[in-house]
């Protein structure tokens, strides 16, 4: 009578499929069923159903010693197979627990239209979606800039609503707390510049011009670029993660419904803090870079600190000094706006906040380098 049997597992778990004389298919479960042993194959039952479709399928669980989810899943699978073939299923003598759980699993019918069909749309659709996505992103960015400009107007008129305490906290985080890393990077960059210059200039006996090289490079380019990249990495990403998390926890919604524009309350203090602190950090970085160059000159070359200092003073002009500071102000604004924009437009999941922080850094660095390139061209044309 037995048609097919799955070999007994470790604990004697067994599924046998048989037929009664009236054509009823009997699925016999026996032994101890443990989820850790996996599920038994459904194929024997499927084959029996396909070979000679019965009117009724009944379970026989007299030999069932112990059961857990694995048995329930198996019974449910068999029931689904029968349903698809319009065959009646009788619980037979399944334990009450299994019957109750199956009843529970079927208590809530599947919502119509809930199931997803996983089909890949044709390439033209995807291209269109992509293009619409870009358009939305551009619209968001322009909208954000417009909002920021309006908010800045309110700030200038003294009508923006934000807490002075928040501003001070951001000032500290974006200023004083950034000093150690800016110190380290600036001294090293100054030393590297001096080292590279020294190797070349020594061949012409022009070691003293290392001072000019370091001073001009630091003040015009490296000081503001390096601080900007550091701040994009540590502060811009922080802004994005913080605002992104506030979005996930609906804190931004709470501000909106209270009639406080998030732009005033969250973005302006950050923008203000970073555009105040970036020029200061830039000056600090310039000075330390020059000191770093001095260390290399004094150590490797026959240039005394006094000579180095005098040469530096000669090479530096107030104009290049202010150029660097001006650029750092622009970079500060770019970093703050990018960080806040990415945060406010972040998705609402943990990974979306991570993406927001990442893209804040990437976008800021791209913008910084592009802006620096534009500055170089413009200054060149203007002859500054």
């Amino acid at each position: 009578m037995s048609l097919a049997a799955e070999p007994a597992s470790r604990d004697g778990r067994e599924v046998t499929v048989g037929r009664r004389d009236d054509g009823t298919l009997v699925v016999r479960l026996a032994g101890a069923w443990r989820l850790a042993d996996g599920l038994p194959a459904i194929e024997p039952v499927e084959r029996a159903l396909a070979e000679r479709p019965p009117k009724t399928v009944v379970f026989d669980a007299r030999g069932l010693a112990a059961w857990d989810t694995s048995a329930v899943t198996f019974v449910e699978e068999v029931a689904e197979l029968c349903e698809a073939r319009k065959i009646r299923v009788e619980p037979g003598d399944l334990p009450h627990g299994i019957r109750d759980l199956i009843r529970l699993a079927r208590a809530v019918p599947e919502k119509v239209g809930a199931r997803r069909t996983r089909t890949r749309p044709p390439w033209l659709d995807r291209l269109g979606e992509r293009a619409l996505g870009v358009a939305t992103a551009v619209r968001n960015a322009v909208g954000f800039l417009g909002d920021a400009a309006l908010s800045f107007g309110r700030l200038a008129a003294g009508r923006a609503r934000y807490r002075r305490h928040d501003l001070l906290v951001v000032l500290q985080a974006a200023g004083a707390e950034a000093l150690p890393i800016v110190t380290l990077i600036s001294i090293l960059v100054g030393m590297i510049l001096a080292f590279v210059g020294a190797v070349q200039l020594e061949r012409f006996g022009a070691e003293i011009y290392v001072a000019d090289l370091v001073a001009i490079a630091m003040v015009r380019e490296m000081g503001c670029i390096m601080t900007a990249i550091i701040m994009a990495g540590r502060t811009g990403s922080g802004f994005a993660a913080e605002l992104g998390t506030m979005k996930v926890t609906q804190e931004i919604d709470a501000l909106r419904t209270l009639g406080i524009p998030p732009m005033d309350f969250l973005v302006m203090p950050r923008l203000l803090a970073l555009s105040l602190m970036m020029p200061l950090l830039c000056v600090y970085s310039d000075i330390l870079g020059i000191v770093g160059g001095g260390i290399v000159s004094a150590g490797m070359l026959d240039v005394t600190p006094v000579q180095y200092w005098n040469e530096t003073l000669q090479a530096l002009t107030l104009k290049s000094f202010f150029l660097g500071i001006g650029k750092s102000l622009v970079f500060g604004v770019l970093i703050a706006l990018t960080g806040c924009f990415r945060g406010i437009h972040s998705g609402s999941s943990a990974s979306a906040v991570g993406d927001a922080a990442t893209s804040a850094v990437v976008t800021s660095i791209v913008l910084i380098v592009v802006a620096d390139g534009l500055f170089a061209v413009v200054f060149n044309v203007l002859g500054i």
């Binding site: 599920l39 899943t73 699993a105 809930a114 999941s349």
Partner: protein, 260 residues
Amino acid sequence: MATNGAGHITVKDLTMAFGSYVVMQDLNFHVREKSIFVIMGGSGSGKSTLLRHMLGLIEPAKGSVWYRDVNFTAADPTGRERLLRRVGVLYQAGALWSSMTLAENVGLPLGEYTSLSPREIREVAKLKLALVGLRGFEDYYPSEISGGMQKRAGLARAMALDPEILFFDEPSAGLDPISSRLLDDLIKELRDSLGTTIVVVTHELASIFAIGDDSIFLDPESKTAIAHGPPKELRAHSTDPRVRRFLTRGEEVAMERPHG
């Protein structure tokens, strides 16, 4: 006082503190096998903190938690992990992993701790989701479904490995009365059909009376448990005005103290 082996979970002389601030002290109770144990008390009485202590997420300032006759508090990380594998937890907000679909959320513990094939994992995940009324939502991400559904999906994940013990942190918070009732039925069903021991942290009176086999009442003022027993019995026989006030929503007993 509870002795070893008397219950599935035994809490002995537990004192919970954050630094020098004591939340609760001298807690002693045990949770019987295959019963539903309710930890109740007003907001801020340290119910969830007690749950986190029982799960080893916070270390007790004093005392210990025992699972059967194993001292969980004194166990090393591997021993704790072994014990926790038999435990499922439903967190307050569901705590689903947002970068995974519901089926993947439920399937992760199955993939980690069983030898099931991906197809089998999917079958089991489908069944667990059907049990909580989420048939057909396997491929949704947590952010695409409602809060109540997230909670139910969290329950499906907690049940994935057929745990011996299930912890529920405020299961009915944020659910409408009908969903909350259905969840209560489900909790009872799990105790009856799978023989799961269940610990529920809640302050929902309807739930407490509907499902609780046994309970303790935490009082934030005396910083300890002031009542212990089946909730219905406490409502009928407790003489403590604080307990009576809580269990009757403050309607029956006149206030004796301003912050009772």
